[in-house]
Protein backbone atom coordinates (compact mmCIF):
# COMPACT_ATOMS: atom_id res chain seq x y z
CA UNK A 1 0.00 0.00 0.00
CA UNK A 2 1.34 3.40 -0.94
CA UNK A 3 -0.09 5.92 1.43
CA UNK A 4 0.81 9.56 1.01
CA UNK A 5 2.62 9.70 4.33
CA UNK A 6 2.80 7.47 7.32
CA UNK A 7 -0.38 7.48 9.42
CA UNK A 8 1.55 7.51 12.66
CA UNK A 9 3.20 10.82 12.01
CA UNK A 10 0.00 12.78 11.96
CA UNK A 11 -3.20 13.35 13.80
CA UNK A 12 -5.56 10.66 12.58
CA UNK A 13 -9.27 11.05 13.36
CA UNK A 14 -10.44 7.80 11.84
CA UNK A 15 -8.43 4.74 10.96
CA UNK A 16 -9.52 1.59 9.15
CA UNK A 17 -7.45 -1.59 9.27
CA UNK A 18 -7.97 -4.62 7.08
CA UNK A 19 -11.66 -4.11 6.81
CA UNK A 20 -13.70 -6.67 4.87
CA UNK A 21 -17.38 -6.92 4.10
CA UNK A 22 -19.18 -9.43 1.90
CA UNK A 23 -22.79 -9.69 0.80
CA UNK A 24 -23.22 -13.37 0.03
CA UNK A 25 -20.74 -14.01 -2.79
CA UNK A 26 -20.06 -10.34 -3.43
CA UNK A 27 -16.87 -9.24 -1.70
CA UNK A 28 -17.73 -5.57 -1.48
CA UNK A 29 -14.69 -4.64 0.64
CA UNK A 30 -11.43 -6.61 0.81
CA UNK A 31 -8.82 -5.83 3.44
CA UNK A 32 -9.21 -2.09 3.23
CA UNK A 33 -6.75 -0.04 5.30
CA UNK A 34 -6.84 3.74 5.21
CA UNK A 35 -7.07 6.74 7.47
CA UNK A 36 -8.59 10.22 7.64
CA UNK A 37 -6.40 13.02 8.99
CA UNK A 38 -8.16 15.26 11.46
CA UNK A 39 -9.42 18.58 10.13
CA UNK A 40 -8.88 17.72 6.49
CA UNK A 41 -11.00 16.73 3.53
CA UNK A 42 -10.27 13.22 2.38
CA UNK A 43 -11.78 11.97 -0.87
CA UNK A 44 -12.70 8.42 -1.80
CA UNK A 45 -13.00 7.60 -5.48
CA UNK A 46 -13.64 4.48 -7.54
CA UNK A 47 -15.88 3.12 -10.25
CA UNK A 48 -19.50 2.14 -9.78
CA UNK A 49 -19.69 -0.85 -7.49
CA UNK A 50 -16.13 -0.35 -6.20
CA UNK A 51 -17.41 -0.45 -2.63
CA UNK A 52 -17.41 3.24 -1.67
CA UNK A 53 -20.94 3.33 -0.30
CA UNK A 54 -20.38 0.03 1.47
CA UNK A 55 -17.42 1.55 3.31
CA UNK A 56 -19.55 4.58 4.15
CA UNK A 57 -22.29 2.37 5.52
CA UNK A 58 -19.84 0.44 7.66
CA UNK A 59 -18.36 3.66 9.06
CA UNK A 60 -21.81 5.05 9.82
CA UNK A 61 -23.04 1.92 11.58
CA UNK A 62 -25.57 0.79 8.94
CA UNK A 63 -23.54 -2.35 8.16
CA UNK A 64 -21.24 -4.28 10.46
CA UNK A 65 -17.87 -5.34 9.00
CA UNK A 66 -17.03 -9.05 8.66
CA UNK A 67 -13.39 -8.49 9.59
CA UNK A 68 -11.13 -5.62 10.43
CA UNK A 69 -10.88 -2.78 12.86
CA UNK A 70 -11.99 0.82 12.96
CA UNK A 71 -10.49 3.37 15.30
CA UNK A 72 -12.10 6.72 15.90
CA UNK A 73 -10.44 9.54 17.84
CA UNK A 74 -7.83 7.07 19.03
CA UNK A 75 -10.32 4.52 20.33
CA UNK A 76 -11.23 1.20 18.73
CA UNK A 77 -14.92 1.38 17.86
CA UNK A 78 -17.60 -0.98 16.63
CA UNK A 79 -20.88 0.72 15.82
CA UNK A 80 -23.77 -1.64 16.43
CA UNK A 81 -26.23 0.72 14.76
CA UNK A 82 -26.34 4.16 13.12
CA UNK A 83 -27.29 5.82 16.37
CA UNK A 84 -24.03 4.64 17.95
CA UNK A 85 -22.05 6.26 15.13
CA UNK A 86 -24.03 9.48 15.45
CA UNK A 87 -23.46 9.57 19.19
CA UNK A 88 -19.74 9.08 18.61
CA UNK A 89 -19.74 12.14 16.34
CA UNK A 90 -20.07 10.74 12.81
CA UNK A 91 -22.79 12.23 10.62
CA UNK A 92 -23.46 10.92 7.15
CA UNK A 93 -25.09 12.21 4.00
CA UNK A 94 -26.04 8.92 2.40
CA UNK A 95 -26.07 8.46 -1.36
CA UNK A 96 -29.84 7.97 -1.31
CA UNK A 97 -30.09 10.95 1.09
CA UNK A 98 -32.17 9.14 3.71
CA UNK A 99 -34.67 11.97 3.83
CA UNK A 100 -38.30 11.09 4.52
CA UNK A 101 -40.37 12.64 1.72
CA UNK A 102 -43.58 12.76 3.71
CA UNK A 103 -42.05 14.69 6.57
CA UNK A 104 -41.30 18.39 6.62
CA UNK A 105 -37.86 19.92 6.29
CA UNK A 106 -37.59 20.62 10.02
CA UNK A 107 -38.80 17.14 10.91
CA UNK A 108 -36.09 15.67 8.69
CA UNK A 109 -33.40 17.93 10.08
CA UNK A 110 -34.27 16.81 13.60
CA UNK A 111 -35.04 13.18 12.85
CA UNK A 112 -34.09 11.18 15.94
CA UNK A 113 -32.66 14.37 17.47
CA UNK A 114 -36.01 15.94 18.23
CA UNK A 115 -36.13 18.71 20.81
CA UNK A 116 -38.73 18.14 23.49
CA UNK A 117 -40.32 20.11 26.29
CA UNK A 118 -41.10 18.29 29.49
CA UNK A 119 -44.66 18.49 30.74
CA UNK A 120 -44.53 16.61 34.01
CA UNK A 121 -43.75 13.00 33.11
CA UNK A 122 -44.41 13.61 29.42
CA UNK A 123 -42.15 14.96 26.72
CA UNK A 124 -43.79 16.81 23.87
CA UNK A 125 -42.06 18.05 20.75
CA UNK A 126 -40.82 21.61 20.90
CA UNK A 127 -41.87 22.37 17.36
CA UNK A 128 -41.30 26.10 17.59
CA UNK A 129 -37.71 25.73 18.74
CA UNK A 130 -36.99 23.11 16.10
CA UNK A 131 -38.37 25.31 13.33
CA UNK A 132 -36.30 28.29 14.46
CA UNK A 133 -33.14 26.21 14.71
CA UNK A 134 -33.90 24.54 11.37
CA UNK A 135 -33.92 27.96 9.70
CA UNK A 136 -30.54 28.71 11.24
CA UNK A 137 -29.10 25.40 10.08
CA UNK A 138 -30.27 26.03 6.53
CA UNK A 139 -29.24 29.66 6.53
CA UNK A 140 -25.62 28.50 6.61
CA UNK A 141 -26.17 27.15 3.13
CA UNK A 142 -27.21 30.64 2.07
CA UNK A 143 -28.74 29.53 -1.23
CA UNK A 144 -32.35 29.05 -2.20
CA UNK A 145 -33.24 28.07 1.34
CA UNK A 146 -36.32 25.82 1.35
CA UNK A 147 -39.15 26.71 3.73
CA UNK A 148 -38.68 24.63 6.86
CA UNK A 149 -42.36 23.73 7.07
CA UNK A 150 -42.58 22.42 3.52
CA UNK A 151 -42.61 18.69 2.91
CA UNK A 152 -39.34 17.38 1.52
CA UNK A 153 -41.35 15.80 -1.31
CA UNK A 154 -41.89 19.24 -2.80
CA UNK A 155 -38.25 20.33 -2.81
CA UNK A 156 -35.91 20.42 -5.78
CA UNK A 157 -32.96 18.04 -5.93
CA UNK A 158 -30.59 20.80 -4.85
CA UNK A 159 -32.79 21.81 -1.94
CA UNK A 160 -33.01 18.22 -0.75
CA UNK A 161 -29.26 17.94 -0.91
CA UNK A 162 -29.01 21.15 1.09
CA UNK A 163 -31.29 19.70 3.77
CA UNK A 164 -29.31 16.47 3.95
CA UNK A 165 -26.01 18.33 4.21
CA UNK A 166 -27.35 20.83 6.72
CA UNK A 167 -28.51 17.93 8.83
CA UNK A 168 -25.11 16.25 8.77
CA UNK A 169 -23.24 19.48 9.41
CA UNK A 170 -25.54 20.87 12.04
CA UNK A 171 -24.69 18.81 15.06
CA UNK A 172 -21.18 19.81 15.93
CA UNK A 173 -20.02 16.38 14.90
CA UNK A 174 -16.37 15.40 14.43
CA UNK A 175 -16.64 13.69 11.06
CA UNK A 176 -19.04 14.36 8.23
CA UNK A 177 -19.24 11.71 5.51
CA UNK A 178 -20.77 12.74 2.20
CA UNK A 179 -21.56 10.08 -0.37
CA UNK A 180 -21.72 11.83 -3.75
CA UNK A 181 -23.26 15.03 -2.41
CA UNK A 182 -23.23 16.81 -5.78
CA UNK A 183 -24.20 13.90 -8.01
CA UNK A 184 -27.68 15.19 -8.85
CA UNK A 185 -26.90 18.89 -8.84
CA UNK A 186 -26.63 21.63 -11.44
CA UNK A 187 -23.58 23.83 -11.87
CA UNK A 188 -24.63 26.52 -9.41
CA UNK A 189 -25.85 24.11 -6.74
CA UNK A 190 -22.63 22.13 -7.06
CA UNK A 191 -20.62 25.30 -6.53
CA UNK A 192 -22.69 26.10 -3.43
CA UNK A 193 -22.22 22.64 -1.96
CA UNK A 194 -18.48 22.86 -2.63
CA UNK A 195 -18.42 26.21 -0.83
CA UNK A 196 -20.20 24.61 2.07
CA UNK A 197 -17.75 21.72 2.24
CA UNK A 198 -14.82 24.13 2.16
CA UNK A 199 -16.56 26.16 4.87
CA UNK A 200 -16.92 23.11 7.09
CA UNK A 201 -13.23 22.37 6.69
CA UNK A 202 -12.42 25.95 7.64
CA UNK A 203 -14.43 25.38 10.82
CA UNK A 204 -12.13 22.46 11.59
CA UNK A 205 -14.45 19.61 10.64
CA UNK A 206 -13.05 16.40 9.21
CA UNK A 207 -14.75 15.35 5.99
CA UNK A 208 -14.87 12.19 3.92
CA UNK A 209 -16.06 13.05 0.44
CA UNK A 210 -17.11 10.41 -2.07
CA UNK A 211 -17.18 11.71 -5.62
CA UNK A 212 -16.88 10.65 -9.24
CA UNK A 213 -15.79 14.17 -10.18
CA UNK A 214 -11.97 14.14 -10.12
CA UNK A 215 -11.71 17.87 -10.73
CA UNK A 216 -13.87 18.42 -7.69
CA UNK A 217 -11.73 16.01 -5.69
CA UNK A 218 -8.52 17.78 -6.69
CA UNK A 219 -10.10 21.15 -5.99
CA UNK A 220 -11.49 20.33 -2.54
CA UNK A 221 -9.69 17.43 -0.97
CA UNK A 222 -6.33 17.26 0.78
CA UNK A 223 -5.83 13.63 -0.07
CA UNK A 224 -7.59 10.88 -1.93
CA UNK A 225 -7.99 7.12 -1.60
CA UNK A 226 -8.86 4.98 -4.60
CA UNK A 227 -10.96 1.82 -4.41
CA UNK A 228 -11.04 -0.77 -7.17
CA UNK A 229 -13.35 -3.82 -7.00
CA UNK A 230 -13.53 -3.63 -3.24
CA UNK A 231 -9.77 -3.34 -2.70
CA UNK A 232 -7.64 -0.29 -2.03
CA UNK A 233 -5.82 0.69 -5.24
CA UNK A 234 -3.83 3.49 -3.70
CA UNK A 235 -3.71 6.80 -1.88
CA UNK A 236 -2.30 10.17 -2.92
CA UNK A 237 -1.94 13.71 -1.70
CA UNK A 238 -4.02 15.82 -4.08
CA UNK A 239 -1.11 18.21 -4.49
CA UNK A 240 0.99 15.34 -5.79
CA UNK A 241 -1.38 13.69 -8.22
CA UNK A 242 -3.30 14.45 -11.38
CA UNK A 243 -6.66 13.57 -12.85
CA UNK A 244 -4.95 11.20 -15.29
CA UNK A 245 -3.21 9.34 -12.49
CA UNK A 246 -6.48 8.97 -10.58
CA UNK A 247 -8.20 7.64 -13.71
CA UNK A 248 -5.37 5.15 -14.08
CA UNK A 249 -5.70 4.00 -10.49
CA UNK A 250 -9.47 3.68 -10.77
CA UNK A 251 -9.37 1.65 -13.98
CA UNK A 252 -6.33 -0.41 -13.05
CA UNK A 253 -4.14 1.00 -15.80
CA UNK A 254 -1.80 2.11 -13.01
CA UNK A 255 -1.13 -0.61 -10.46
CA UNK A 256 -1.13 1.80 -7.50
Amino acid sequence: MTGPTSPISQDVLLGVEQLSKSFGNVRALRDISLWLPRGQITALVGDNGAGKSTLVRVLSGVHQPDHGRVTFAGQPVRFADPQAARLAGIETVHQNLALVDELTVWQNLFLNRELVRRLGPFAVLDRGAMQVKAREMLARLSVNVPPVRAKVQRLSGGQRQAVAIARAAGWGSKLVIMDEPTAALGVQETARVEELIAGLRAEGMTILLISHNFEQVLRLADRVWVLRSGALAGGRLTTETTGEELVGLVTGAIAG
Binding site: P82, T92, N96, L97, L111, N112, P147, R149, R154
Partner: protein, 330 residues
Protein backbone atom coordinates in the same frame (compact mmCIF):
# COMPACT_ATOMS: atom_id res chain seq x y z
CA UNK B 1 -52.03 17.73 3.34
CA UNK B 2 -53.53 20.87 4.57
CA UNK B 3 -55.95 20.88 7.42
CA UNK B 4 -57.29 17.90 9.22
CA UNK B 5 -54.75 15.29 8.49
CA UNK B 6 -51.10 16.02 8.96
CA UNK B 7 -51.39 19.24 10.86
CA UNK B 8 -50.33 22.67 9.83
CA UNK B 9 -46.76 21.40 9.65
CA UNK B 10 -46.84 20.82 5.93
CA UNK B 11 -47.97 24.25 4.84
CA UNK B 12 -45.02 26.32 3.77
CA UNK B 13 -45.95 29.40 5.77
CA UNK B 14 -42.75 31.07 4.74
CA UNK B 15 -44.53 31.62 1.45
CA UNK B 16 -47.86 33.42 1.26
CA UNK B 17 -50.75 30.96 1.21
CA UNK B 18 -52.76 30.56 -1.93
CA UNK B 19 -56.09 32.37 -1.69
CA UNK B 20 -59.00 30.09 -0.83
CA UNK B 21 -60.60 30.53 -4.25
CA UNK B 22 -57.49 29.15 -5.95
CA UNK B 23 -57.22 26.25 -3.58
CA UNK B 24 -60.83 25.19 -4.05
CA UNK B 25 -60.17 24.78 -7.79
CA UNK B 26 -57.32 22.41 -7.01
CA UNK B 27 -58.54 18.82 -6.79
CA UNK B 28 -55.87 18.14 -4.17
CA UNK B 29 -57.80 20.38 -1.80
CA UNK B 30 -60.83 18.09 -2.08
CA UNK B 31 -58.69 15.01 -1.65
CA UNK B 32 -57.19 16.37 1.55
CA UNK B 33 -60.61 17.00 3.00
CA UNK B 34 -62.34 13.90 1.57
CA UNK B 35 -63.54 12.47 4.89
CA UNK B 36 -64.90 15.79 6.16
CA UNK B 37 -66.61 16.59 2.86
CA UNK B 38 -68.02 13.07 2.58
CA UNK B 39 -69.39 13.28 6.11
CA UNK B 40 -70.95 16.65 5.38
CA UNK B 41 -72.51 15.36 2.15
CA UNK B 42 -73.97 12.32 3.89
CA UNK B 43 -75.35 14.42 6.72
CA UNK B 44 -76.97 16.79 4.19
CA UNK B 45 -78.44 14.04 2.01
CA UNK B 46 -79.85 11.97 4.86
CA UNK B 47 -80.85 15.08 6.80
CA UNK B 48 -83.07 16.10 3.88
CA UNK B 49 -84.26 12.58 3.08
CA UNK B 50 -85.15 11.56 6.62
CA UNK B 51 -86.56 13.98 9.19
CA UNK B 52 -85.39 11.84 12.11
CA UNK B 53 -81.75 11.70 10.97
CA UNK B 54 -80.68 15.00 12.45
CA UNK B 55 -82.63 14.73 15.70
CA UNK B 56 -80.58 14.95 18.87
CA UNK B 57 -81.56 11.42 19.81
CA UNK B 58 -80.33 9.97 16.53
CA UNK B 59 -77.07 11.94 16.62
CA UNK B 60 -76.42 10.63 20.13
CA UNK B 61 -77.18 7.10 18.98
CA UNK B 62 -74.84 7.46 15.99
CA UNK B 63 -71.99 8.72 18.16
CA UNK B 64 -72.45 5.83 20.59
CA UNK B 65 -72.44 3.28 17.81
CA UNK B 66 -69.39 4.98 16.22
CA UNK B 67 -67.37 4.77 19.45
CA UNK B 68 -66.04 1.24 18.94
CA UNK B 69 -65.12 1.91 15.33
CA UNK B 70 -63.34 5.13 16.28
CA UNK B 71 -61.20 3.31 18.86
CA UNK B 72 -60.32 0.57 16.35
CA UNK B 73 -59.61 3.10 13.60
CA UNK B 74 -57.15 5.00 15.80
CA UNK B 75 -55.22 1.76 16.44
CA UNK B 76 -55.31 0.87 12.76
CA UNK B 77 -54.15 4.40 11.84
CA UNK B 78 -50.96 3.94 13.86
CA UNK B 79 -50.20 0.64 12.16
CA UNK B 80 -50.97 1.89 8.66
CA UNK B 81 -48.85 5.02 9.24
CA UNK B 82 -45.83 2.71 9.46
CA UNK B 83 -46.95 1.15 6.15
CA UNK B 84 -48.14 -1.95 8.01
CA UNK B 85 -51.65 -3.29 8.34
CA UNK B 86 -53.45 -5.04 11.18
CA UNK B 87 -55.94 -7.53 9.75
CA UNK B 88 -56.40 -9.09 13.19
CA UNK B 89 -57.73 -6.00 14.95
CA UNK B 90 -61.40 -7.10 15.06
CA UNK B 91 -60.71 -10.71 16.02
CA UNK B 92 -58.34 -9.53 18.72
CA UNK B 93 -61.22 -7.41 19.99
CA UNK B 94 -63.44 -10.52 20.00
CA UNK B 95 -60.71 -12.47 21.79
CA UNK B 96 -60.37 -9.72 24.42
CA UNK B 97 -64.15 -9.66 24.87
CA UNK B 98 -64.30 -13.43 25.42
CA UNK B 99 -61.46 -13.30 27.96
CA UNK B 100 -63.25 -10.46 29.74
CA UNK B 101 -66.50 -12.45 29.79
CA UNK B 102 -64.89 -15.64 31.09
CA UNK B 103 -63.00 -13.84 33.84
CA UNK B 104 -66.21 -12.10 34.87
CA UNK B 105 -68.09 -15.40 34.82
CA UNK B 106 -65.32 -16.88 36.97
CA UNK B 107 -66.17 -14.31 39.62
CA UNK B 108 -63.53 -11.66 39.01
CA UNK B 109 -64.54 -8.07 39.84
CA UNK B 110 -65.50 -6.24 36.65
CA UNK B 111 -62.49 -3.93 36.76
CA UNK B 112 -60.07 -6.87 36.84
CA UNK B 113 -62.01 -8.75 34.20
CA UNK B 114 -61.77 -5.69 31.93
CA UNK B 115 -58.05 -5.36 32.64
CA UNK B 116 -57.65 -9.05 31.83
CA UNK B 117 -59.43 -8.59 28.50
CA UNK B 118 -57.23 -5.63 27.58
CA UNK B 119 -54.10 -7.55 28.60
CA UNK B 120 -55.10 -10.52 26.47
CA UNK B 121 -55.66 -8.27 23.47
CA UNK B 122 -52.40 -6.44 24.15
CA UNK B 123 -50.56 -9.77 24.25
CA UNK B 124 -51.98 -10.65 20.82
CA UNK B 125 -50.84 -7.25 19.55
CA UNK B 126 -47.38 -7.83 21.01
CA UNK B 127 -47.12 -11.18 19.23
CA UNK B 128 -48.04 -9.43 15.97
CA UNK B 129 -45.42 -6.79 16.64
CA UNK B 130 -42.66 -9.24 17.53
CA UNK B 131 -43.27 -11.33 14.44
CA UNK B 132 -43.32 -8.28 12.15
CA UNK B 133 -40.41 -6.44 13.78
CA UNK B 134 -38.05 -9.20 14.88
CA UNK B 135 -39.25 -12.13 12.80
CA UNK B 136 -39.37 -9.99 9.64
CA UNK B 137 -42.52 -11.80 8.53
CA UNK B 138 -44.69 -9.59 6.25
CA UNK B 139 -47.36 -7.79 8.30
CA UNK B 140 -50.09 -9.03 6.00
CA UNK B 141 -49.21 -12.66 6.72
CA UNK B 142 -48.65 -12.18 10.44
CA UNK B 143 -51.92 -10.40 11.08
CA UNK B 144 -53.88 -12.68 8.76
CA UNK B 145 -52.58 -15.56 10.88
CA UNK B 146 -53.51 -13.70 14.05
CA UNK B 147 -56.94 -12.94 12.60
CA UNK B 148 -57.53 -16.67 12.37
CA UNK B 149 -55.75 -17.60 15.60
CA UNK B 150 -57.52 -15.00 17.74
CA UNK B 151 -60.98 -15.90 16.42
CA UNK B 152 -60.14 -19.56 16.94
CA UNK B 153 -58.94 -18.94 20.48
CA UNK B 154 -62.14 -17.01 21.21
CA UNK B 155 -64.24 -19.91 19.94
CA UNK B 156 -62.23 -22.52 21.85
CA UNK B 157 -62.20 -20.59 25.14
CA UNK B 158 -65.91 -19.84 25.03
CA UNK B 159 -66.89 -23.13 23.46
CA UNK B 160 -68.72 -21.05 20.89
CA UNK B 161 -71.18 -19.78 23.48
CA UNK B 162 -71.83 -16.15 24.46
CA UNK B 163 -71.18 -15.27 28.10
CA UNK B 164 -73.57 -12.84 29.76
CA UNK B 165 -71.85 -9.93 31.43
CA UNK B 166 -74.56 -8.10 33.32
CA UNK B 167 -72.74 -5.63 35.47
CA UNK B 168 -74.07 -2.27 36.63
CA UNK B 169 -70.75 -0.50 35.99
CA UNK B 170 -70.48 -1.78 32.43
CA UNK B 171 -74.12 -0.95 31.86
CA UNK B 172 -73.41 2.62 32.89
CA UNK B 173 -70.55 2.75 30.40
CA UNK B 174 -72.97 1.78 27.65
CA UNK B 175 -75.99 3.85 28.60
CA UNK B 176 -74.76 6.57 30.95
CA UNK B 177 -73.89 10.04 29.73
CA UNK B 178 -72.64 13.45 30.66
CA UNK B 179 -75.38 15.70 29.35
CA UNK B 180 -76.13 14.35 25.88
CA UNK B 181 -72.68 12.77 25.43
CA UNK B 182 -72.51 9.06 26.25
CA UNK B 183 -69.61 7.70 28.31
CA UNK B 184 -68.49 5.47 25.46
CA UNK B 185 -68.34 8.55 23.20
CA UNK B 186 -66.15 10.27 25.77
CA UNK B 187 -63.86 7.23 25.89
CA UNK B 188 -63.54 7.29 22.11
CA UNK B 189 -62.91 11.03 22.09
CA UNK B 190 -60.17 10.70 24.71
CA UNK B 191 -58.54 7.90 22.69
CA UNK B 192 -58.65 10.06 19.56
CA UNK B 193 -57.16 13.12 21.27
CA UNK B 194 -54.41 11.08 22.93
CA UNK B 195 -53.72 9.34 19.63
CA UNK B 196 -53.39 12.68 17.88
CA UNK B 197 -51.02 14.00 20.54
CA UNK B 198 -48.86 10.88 20.41
CA UNK B 199 -48.68 10.88 16.61
CA UNK B 200 -47.96 14.56 16.12
CA UNK B 201 -46.49 15.86 19.34
CA UNK B 202 -44.05 13.18 20.47
CA UNK B 203 -40.76 11.82 19.21
CA UNK B 204 -42.37 8.41 18.90
CA UNK B 205 -44.98 9.87 16.56
CA UNK B 206 -42.35 11.38 14.25
CA UNK B 207 -40.55 8.03 14.25
CA UNK B 208 -43.80 6.27 13.30
CA UNK B 209 -44.19 8.53 10.28
CA UNK B 210 -40.50 8.28 9.38
CA UNK B 211 -40.62 4.49 9.57
CA UNK B 212 -43.62 4.47 7.27
CA UNK B 213 -42.20 7.03 4.86
CA UNK B 214 -38.66 5.69 4.49
CA UNK B 215 -37.73 2.84 6.81
CA UNK B 216 -34.13 2.58 5.59
CA UNK B 217 -33.61 6.31 5.81
CA UNK B 218 -35.06 6.40 9.31
CA UNK B 219 -32.79 3.53 10.33
CA UNK B 220 -29.77 5.35 8.95
CA UNK B 221 -30.66 8.22 11.27
CA UNK B 222 -30.67 5.83 14.20
CA UNK B 223 -34.45 5.43 14.50
CA UNK B 224 -35.11 1.98 15.96
CA UNK B 225 -37.64 0.97 13.34
CA UNK B 226 -38.10 -2.52 14.81
CA UNK B 227 -39.14 -1.08 18.13
CA UNK B 228 -41.45 1.42 16.43
CA UNK B 229 -43.17 -1.40 14.53
CA UNK B 230 -43.54 -3.47 17.67
CA UNK B 231 -45.08 -0.59 19.58
CA UNK B 232 -47.67 0.28 16.90
CA UNK B 233 -48.97 -3.30 16.90
CA UNK B 234 -49.03 -3.18 20.68
CA UNK B 235 -51.06 0.05 20.54
CA UNK B 236 -53.42 -1.61 18.08
CA UNK B 237 -53.83 -4.57 20.47
CA UNK B 238 -54.47 -2.38 23.51
CA UNK B 239 -57.06 -0.35 21.64
CA UNK B 240 -58.71 -3.55 20.39
CA UNK B 241 -58.93 -4.55 24.07
CA UNK B 242 -60.49 -1.20 24.96
CA UNK B 243 -62.94 -1.64 22.09
CA UNK B 244 -63.74 -5.08 23.53
CA UNK B 245 -64.87 -3.46 26.79
CA UNK B 246 -67.13 -1.08 24.85
CA UNK B 247 -68.48 -3.99 22.81
CA UNK B 248 -69.27 -6.15 25.85
CA UNK B 249 -70.89 -3.22 27.62
CA UNK B 250 -73.09 -2.58 24.59
CA UNK B 251 -74.13 -6.17 24.04
CA UNK B 252 -74.35 -7.12 27.73
CA UNK B 253 -72.48 -10.25 26.72
CA UNK B 254 -69.16 -11.47 25.37
CA UNK B 255 -69.76 -13.13 22.02
CA UNK B 256 -67.15 -15.17 20.19
CA UNK B 257 -68.64 -14.24 16.79
CA UNK B 258 -66.17 -13.21 14.11
CA UNK B 259 -66.59 -9.55 13.36
CA UNK B 260 -65.32 -8.90 9.84
CA UNK B 261 -67.43 -5.78 9.40
CA UNK B 262 -65.47 -4.05 12.15
CA UNK B 263 -62.19 -5.05 10.50
CA UNK B 264 -63.18 -3.82 7.06
CA UNK B 265 -64.72 -0.63 8.42
CA UNK B 266 -61.67 0.12 10.56
CA UNK B 267 -59.43 -0.09 7.50
CA UNK B 268 -61.96 1.80 5.40
CA UNK B 269 -62.16 4.59 7.99
CA UNK B 270 -58.38 4.97 7.94
CA UNK B 271 -58.25 5.05 4.15
CA UNK B 272 -61.14 7.52 4.02
CA UNK B 273 -59.21 9.61 6.52
CA UNK B 274 -56.40 10.15 4.06
CA UNK B 275 -53.80 7.87 5.62
CA UNK B 276 -51.68 6.39 2.86
CA UNK B 277 -51.44 2.59 2.84
CA UNK B 278 -47.84 3.12 1.72
CA UNK B 279 -47.11 4.75 5.06
CA UNK B 280 -45.58 8.03 6.12
CA UNK B 281 -48.76 10.05 5.82
CA UNK B 282 -50.53 9.79 9.13
CA UNK B 283 -53.65 11.26 10.62
CA UNK B 284 -55.99 10.66 13.53
CA UNK B 285 -58.65 13.28 12.81
CA UNK B 286 -59.12 11.86 9.30
CA UNK B 287 -59.80 8.25 10.41
CA UNK B 288 -62.12 9.52 13.16
CA UNK B 289 -64.13 11.45 10.58
CA UNK B 290 -63.99 8.37 8.36
CA UNK B 291 -65.46 6.24 11.15
CA UNK B 292 -68.20 8.81 11.73
CA UNK B 293 -68.92 8.89 8.00
CA UNK B 294 -69.29 5.10 7.77
CA UNK B 295 -71.53 5.03 10.85
CA UNK B 296 -73.69 7.87 9.54
CA UNK B 297 -73.99 6.10 6.19
CA UNK B 298 -75.18 2.87 7.79
CA UNK B 299 -77.50 4.70 10.13
CA UNK B 300 -79.01 6.81 7.34
CA UNK B 301 -79.65 3.82 5.12
CA UNK B 302 -81.37 2.06 8.02
CA UNK B 303 -83.53 5.11 8.76
CA UNK B 304 -84.63 5.25 5.14
CA UNK B 305 -85.72 1.65 5.45
CA UNK B 306 -83.21 0.43 2.88
CA UNK B 307 -82.38 -3.24 3.26
CA UNK B 308 -79.30 -4.05 5.34
CA UNK B 309 -77.98 -5.94 2.35
CA UNK B 310 -77.21 -2.61 0.66
CA UNK B 311 -74.98 -1.37 3.47
CA UNK B 312 -71.78 -3.19 2.51
CA UNK B 313 -72.32 -2.16 -1.10
CA UNK B 314 -72.70 1.50 -0.09
CA UNK B 315 -69.61 1.33 2.13
CA UNK B 316 -67.65 -0.23 -0.72
CA UNK B 317 -68.67 2.47 -3.18
CA UNK B 318 -67.75 5.26 -0.74
CA UNK B 319 -64.36 3.75 0.01
CA UNK B 320 -63.45 3.25 -3.64
CA UNK B 321 -64.60 6.77 -4.53
CA UNK B 322 -62.48 8.12 -1.69
CA UNK B 323 -59.49 6.09 -2.82
CA UNK B 324 -59.85 7.52 -6.32
CA UNK B 325 -59.98 11.05 -4.95
CA UNK B 326 -57.01 10.30 -2.70
CA UNK B 327 -54.79 9.90 -5.75
CA UNK B 328 -54.88 13.67 -6.06
CA UNK B 329 -53.69 14.26 -2.53
CA UNK B 330 -50.95 16.83 -2.33
Amino acid sequence: MAGLATEAGSVPVDEPREPLRERVRDIGFWADWAAAIGLLAIVLVFGIASPSFLTLGNIEAMLVSAAILVVLAVGQAFVISTSGIDLSIASVMTFGAVVLGLLYAAGWPILFACAGGVLAAAAAGAVNGLLVAKGRVPDFVVTLGMFSAASGAALILSDGQPTDVVDPALLTLASGSVGPIGYSVIVAAVVAVLGHIVLFRTRFGVHVLATGGNAEGARAMGVRIGRVRLVVYLISGVLAGLAAILLVSRLGAAEPAINTTYLLNAIAAVVLGGVSLRGGRGSIAGPVLGALLLTALTNGLTLLGISQFYQPLAVGIVVVLAALLMRYQR
